[in-house]
């Protein structure tokens, strides 16, 4: 049985990084329809994605110690892919309810002008970005065979995830928004997240079982 290679982990983490930034950029544009193009929409979107990353890194690392199999990620990524695919149907009623809970013809309180976009962004983007952020710490744990190599492997995987994010931000902002409908971009991103789940499932047999590994 071939052990799980750091390069394979780097590729999956890069895919996750790409998807996170596509969701962030396209999501900010999507939110403008309901919350306007206010400065707070961008602030919210960046803040919510950073919260998702922090939670995803922490929980992903903890899960990796407990279940050292990428198959677990597949079970998280598949429903997330379906969720992202369904954003064009799921999000509008939720966002509308958020805006419409304020009485019409009266200004929205300054606090809600700031927080509403963050709530809207959290409802749609917190979960998928949280799951996608788990990939980096998870694969660092799964592909580190010797303590002496943890530095290099964690560097490789974090860098790969960031390179994926860089590609995602420019692809989304420079190309996708001009070439495709927002709903189409969400659906393709959903398909991509689902495929990352399949990759994790496919890599699962290569992962060594906990008792056989020696992280010394």
């Amino acid at each position: 049985m071939v052990p799980l290679q750091p390069a394979a982990g780097a590729v999956v983490a890069a895919g996750g990084g790409f998807a996170i930034l596509v969701l962030e950029i396209v999501g900010a544009r999507y939110l403008a329809r309901d919350f306007g193009s206010s400065f707070y929409v961008w602030v919210s979107q960046i803040g919510v994605v950073m919260i998702a990353l922090a939670l995803g890194y922490y929980v992903g690392g903890a899960l990796a110690d407990r279940w050292q199999r990428p198959g677990l990620l597949a079970w998280l990524l598949w429903p997330t892919g379906v969720f992202v695919f369904a954003i064009p149907w799921l999000a509008p009623p939720v966002l509308e309810a958020l805006v419409n809970r304020h009485p019409p013809d009266e200004p929205i309180a300054p606090i809600w002008q700031k927080l509403d976009p963050a709530l809207g962004s959290a409802v749609i983007f917190l979960w998928p970005c949280f799951v996608l952020a788990m990939l980096s710490p998870y694969f660092i744990r799964l592909t580190s065979r010797h303590l002496a190599h943890v530095g290099r492997i964690s560097g490789l995987i974090i860098a790969a995830s960031t390179v994926g994010s860089i590609a995602g931000v420019f692809a989304a902002g420079y190309l996708l928004v001009d070439l495709m409908a927002l709903s189409t971009i969400f659906r393709w991103t959903g398909v991509g997240v689902f495929l990352l789940g399949i990759a994790c499932w496919w890599l699962d047999p290569g992962a060594t079982l906990p008792e056989k590994r020696s992280l010394t």
Binding site: F35, S37, F39, P104
Partner: protein
């Protein structure tokens, strides 16, 4: 409010350089808001408002009702379709050129402005003579959000939300889609009119944006009229709920009547009416309709044509 791109001939460039050299600009205010670097300066008897280094508003210090850009005058055209205007909403404040004129010439009209940038509102009040009163109201909010959440009915909606900087013109995409125009139409009175300032030309620079806007508006409103400005690269699009198409001759006749009755005091009113472009350029048929789901305004704008 948008700056315009003056079509200077070489002579005018020379004159402009001389004026600039002889009259030292005095910066009276500068601040950076979440949206722009905002500057107010006085130069050669004019008060200027710039966002990120490009001119948005020009006002004569001696006569605040003059010195404005040509396109502002097209915002009086809705009177041609509705001679009983009593409630107006304007999206985008800038230096308040339109607000000053409407307050001076039609003091009985309820004029509401929605502006996204609170610093712009402060600047308009302190440096451009914007007066809040029973008929002049300014709300700090996103324009689309305000229209959508409002249950009011307006006779006229004026949209001036473009911004421009050294890198080009920018249009907030959510103020250019079929869904947005649908919300506006829904809030207009039965013979209501929308006037929309856009930066571009009918067949050259940025005409892709103008024709996409035109096609999108015609998808919602029964009639859309094109008024290209003569001294700058602005096109004002007028969309009416009235289903009947009016000819230029007919509009000129109404304009003369409005001037005779004293309703319209703008001296160049008839000239502005005559700017109507009656035949739509043939390439407009190729442009797509902008929707919330797909509105590549940034791509259209940077493509140039």
């Amino acid at each position: 409010m948008k700056a315009m791109r003056p079509i200077w001939g070489p002579v005018w460039v020379a004159v402009a350089v001389m004026i600039a050299a002889s009259a030292a600009a005095q910066v009276v205010f500068e601040a950076t808001s979440p949206y722009h670097n905002i500057r107010v300066e006085d130069r050669a008897g004019m008060r200027l408002l710039t966002f990120d280094g490009t001119l948005q508003t020009r006002m004569s210090l001696a006569d605040p009702l003059s010195g404005h850009f040509e396109y502002i005058e097209y915002f009086h055209l809705p009177w041609l379709w509705n001679t009983q205007v009593s409630r107006v909403l304007m999206i985008g404040l800038g230096g308040g050129s339109a607000q000053r004129q409407w307050a001076a010439w039609y003091p009985e009209v309820q004029f509401e402005t929605v502006e996204i940038d609170p610093v712009v509102v402060r600047v308009a009040r302190e440096y451009f003579g914007l007066r809040d009163g029973p008929t002049q109201k300014v709300i700090v909010s996103d324009g689309r959000l305000h229209v959508r959440r409002s249950r009011q009915v307006w006779d006229v909606v004026l949209v001036d939300a473009y911004t421009e900087n050294r890198y080009g013109a920018f249009i907030p995409y959510h103020l250019a889609t079929r869904e947005f125009f649908g919300i506006v139409q829904d809030r207009l009175s039965p013979n209501g009119v929308m006037a929309y300032n856009a930066i571009g030309t009918l067949s050259g620079w940025q005409s892709d944006v103008i024709c996409s806007l035109y096609r999108t508006m015609t998808d919602v409103f029964p009639q859309v009229y094109l008024f290209p400005a003569q001294s700058s690269h602005n096109v004002v699009l007028i969309a009416t709920r009235e289903a009947r198409r009016r000819s230029r001759a007919e509009l000129e006749q109404v304009a003369r009547h409005l001037q005779h009755s004293g309703r319209i005091r703008l001296s160049q009113f008839l000239t502005r009416v005559r700017a109507l472009r009656e035949s739509v350029p043939s390439h407009f048929a190729r442009c797509g309709i902008l929707t919330d789901d797909y509105a590549p305004v940034d791509g259209l704008l940077t493509r140039g044509r």
